[in-house]
């Protein structure tokens, strides 16, 4: 492990560090990448400048030019990391602050007004010392006023939204967080003469309609980088004097915003009829007192960004057991980190909070994202034999739909069978999970096998093709089996992309048991019209065709599908979203190729797949795949690969990146029980 770290340090010093830009530009990830180790968010927007003199790239704070007394007090004002000790600092300088001594206990009995007056006194006191408003802002971490009776202020909610927005940009860009300030700005959106285009809105003078610091501008930039799936809006309900979190889109301004962000996209089309609907309340039932709603709101948003649902009872139970005091403490740390660290939110403070929910994987996906961004800049891709995955394909593991590249890579990796004769043969992929080598009698074909069979089916149709075409396509298909040893293979897995470019599932053709099975993660409906025969008519016809081609390729050793074969839809876990079917297909292949069935008794827990574990499985798959492919390349004799010299260099670079990710995410190592 020591050597790994050394390797990474050497790499880091080579890299050119860029000055982090304080603007929230689409190039945010650039600022992220050099600080990936310690910070999880993008840098702050320019309206919250850091106190540290000389550290800011734009205008270093000049202490000497300011009026007022000088001396040691100023240096000691560099904010310490611990907000509590900041309070102690204030106490040192003012007798009037003495009552802050034991904040949480003594303040409990004070009326909120008292806290305010203390705050004013402090401001006056600090003004006397000659600080600018900007510095006061940084110092204004007057967290001691936060107690059980404290109702979150609007500016605090705005700042929390800012923190969360920066966090979501890194961890989960599909979520947009909007602070309460956006409602004011949304009115502006209604007033401007704006056409739905992908261009940034401009006002009549031709300059951008939104100022740099505005919530809308930031949100717009955010929405240009990704397809938004969810918007979290902090809103204060005046009638109930209550903070609520809107994750929905059916309120008027959100509808407007939806059009603004992604013109013409179906997701953003909101039915006008819905707009009058008052919000439906989901009562999280965690708050025990009358005023802490704001903190619960912000915390809920934080958890949603990181992938924990407030509707899950474990999440709520954990929140309840933490209690408002803990939440406030964590928010103190988060906001302090946000204000005093120029690079952005510290990773440690976020993880300290998230570890209650075992949410380290959220951060891991953030690390992967940063790594893939680097790969993109360096034009790197993951290469295994004939398959390669570029950053765009790799990102599909983190979110979105699987494509043929992702599935075919896993197919190639899972098909890989170490030849026992060669002592230096790299371990197979399953060994990372402590699995034995795959069953020698089972193999998975690529996603294109099905497409090619479809061509054959078309050629056989007298209306579309000819016998010459049929012969030729069949001859071509037979050559696909050149590299398969059909004397041992009995079971063939065929990934199916059907309906085309919409859905993935798997067909298993078992020549030994004489079964044709469909493994489809899309929940089967009770609708009688979509019975097996109707829904899978084409895939089944093609599976029969496949059995014929394979039979021919085996020169008659394997017998094609006949009436005594058993055709069925196998029981398998179903997806609960519209994203995961490709990865369900991959996991089904993994299980079938190793065990011949799904979820056997000896299946390691991190390979059990279901709708609930799928987000984690996806991250696990890609974070195991990268080091495995790299170690495979590393052990390969150089002469074996084509263009090996050049590739070797690229691979070395990729190894360094992989080491980086391993150092950043210690969890990856810990998870595999049988890791050698």
């Amino acid at each position: 492990m020591k050597r790994l770290e050394d390797g990474w340090n050497g790499f880091e010093t080579d890299e050119e560090f860029e000055e982090s830009d304080t603007e929230m530009k689409p190039s945010l990830h650039k600022a992220d990448k050099s600080k990936a180790g310690s910070h999880v968010s993008a840098g702050r927007p320019p309206n919250a400048k850091p106190l540290h003199p000389g550290r800011s790239s734009t205008s270093p704070t000049k202490f000497s030019s300011k009026p007022g007394p000088k001396g040691k007090t100023k240096n000691s004002l560099l904010p310490p990391l611990d907000p509590i000790s900041k309070a102690q600092f204030l106490e040192m300088h003012s007798a009037s602050m003495a009552d802050l001594d034991e904040p949480s206990k003594s303040k409990k009995n004070q009326p909120p007004a008292m806290g305010k007056s203390i705050f004013q006194k402090k401001s006056a006191f600090l003004n006397e010392l000659g600080f600018t408003a900007e510095e006061l802002d940084v110092l204004d971490i007057e967290f001691n006023r936060w107690d059980r009776d404290y109702l979150l202020r609007h500016d605090e909610a705005d700042e929390m939204a800012e923190v969360l927005e920066a966090l979501s940009l890194t961890i989960n860009p599909a979520v947009l967080v909007l602070g309460p300030r956006f409602l004011v700005e949304a009115k502006l959106l209604e007033s401007i003469d704006w056409l739905p285009t992908d261009e940034e809105p401009i006002d009549h003078s031709g300059s951008p309609a939104f100022s740099e610091e505005s919530v809308l501008k930031r949100a717009w930039l955010h929405s240009q980088q990704t397809t938004l799936k969810e918007m979290l809006v902090f809103q204060y309900d005046h009638s109930r004097a209550h903070w609520v979190l809107f994750p929905q889109r059916n309120i008027r301004n959100i509808a407007l915003l939806g059009r603004f962000f992604k013109p013409g996209r179906p997701a953003a089309q909101v039915k006008m009829a819905d707009l009058d609907v008052r919000y439906r309340v989901y009562n999280a039932n965690v708050q025990e007192d009358g005023s802490s709603c704001g903190f619960w709101m912000a915390t809920t948003a934080l958890l949603m960004i990181c992938g924990a649902s407030i509707k899950h009872k474990d999440t709520r139970r954990m929140l309840q057991s933490l209690g408002i005091d803990y939440l406030q403490q964590h928010w103190r740390f988060l906001l302090t980190s946000w204000r005093i660290e120029e690079e952005g939110l510290g990773a440690e403070v976020v993880n300290n909070f998230l570890h209650y929910w075992n949410l380290d994987f959220a951060q891991r996906s953030g690390c992967l994202r940063i790594m893939f961004d680097e790969w993109e800049e360096e034009n790197l891709s993951l290469v295994f034999r004939n398959e390669s995955l570029g950053p765009v394909d790799l990102r599909r593991f983190i979110e979105g739909w699987a494509n043929d590249e992702a599935i075919n890579m896993l197919v190639a990796v899972l098909n890989y069978f170490p030849e026992m004769a060669v002592s230096q043969t790299p371990l197979h992929f399953g060994s990372l999970f402590g699995l034995p080598a795959r069953q020698p009698s089972c193999v998975s074909l690529t996603t294109f096998f099905y497409s090619k069979l479809k061509e054959l089916l078309a050629a056989e149709n007298p209306a579309l093709g000819s016998s010459q075409q049929t012969q030729q396509t069949e001859a071509e298909l037979l050559r696909w089996f050149k590299k398969h040893d059909l004397s041992v293979l009995r079971k063939f897995l065929i990934p199916v992309n059907e309906p085309r470019n919409v859905h993935w599932f798997l067909i298993e053709v078992d020549f030994e048991l004489k079964t044709l099975s469909v493994y489809d993660s899309w929940p089967s409906s009770n609708n009688r019209s979509s019975t097996l025969e109707e829904k899978y008519q084409v895939p089944m016809a093609i599976a029969v065709l496949a059995s014929r081609v394979i039979s021919k390729a085996s020169e008659g050793k394997l017998l094609p599908v006949s009436p005594e074969w058993n055709v069925s839809r196998a029981l398998c876990p179903s997806q609960n979203n519209d994203q995961d079917c490709g990865f369900f297909t991959i996991m089904t292949i993994l299980h079938l190729i190793h065990w011949g069935r799904l979820h056997p008794a000896n299946c390691p827990p991190n390979l059990m797949f279901s709708a609930a574990t799928m987000p984690k499985i996806r991250i696990t798959l890609v974070s195991k795949l990268i080091p495995w492919v790299e170690s495979w390349t590393d052990q390969l004799p150089l002469s074996q690969g084509s263009g090996s010299l050049c590739k070797g260099r690229v691979m070395k670079f990729m190894m360094l990146l992989a080491m980086k990710i391993l150092t950043l995410c210690p969890g990856i190592h810990d998870e595999s029980p049988g890791k050698c």
């Binding site: 004939n386 043929d404 096998f449 696909w480 859905h503 994203q579 490709g582």
Partner: protein
Amino acid sequence: MSEEDQQGPPQEEVKTEDPQSTINIKVVSSVGEEVFFKIKRSTKLSKLQGAYASKVGKDVGSIRFLYDGERINDDDTPASLDMEDNGTAGAIQFVASLTPPTFADTIDVMVEQVGGVWLRRP
């Protein structure tokens, strides 16, 4: 094609499979459209891929080239993949000159596949 593609692997049967000799290659899309290319055996197939993509007006990143069911790497050449005009090796020129299209070796082109959900089509 230009002179930069001289680094094709040496052939054992130099007499019949001279790297400088040309080969007919048929590129077939999944809907059955065929495009023919005549290239040197030492020419990298990445050139053919680029030429095909621009001919059909598609982004080369969105289509996949397969030979015998396996993806073609950028460095592959007809020689490295052992491609041949589907006659016997000695008869290449003869067969090719008679009816090149029928006997040309075939590269399949597939479009990118994605999927996430089974949507009911209206």
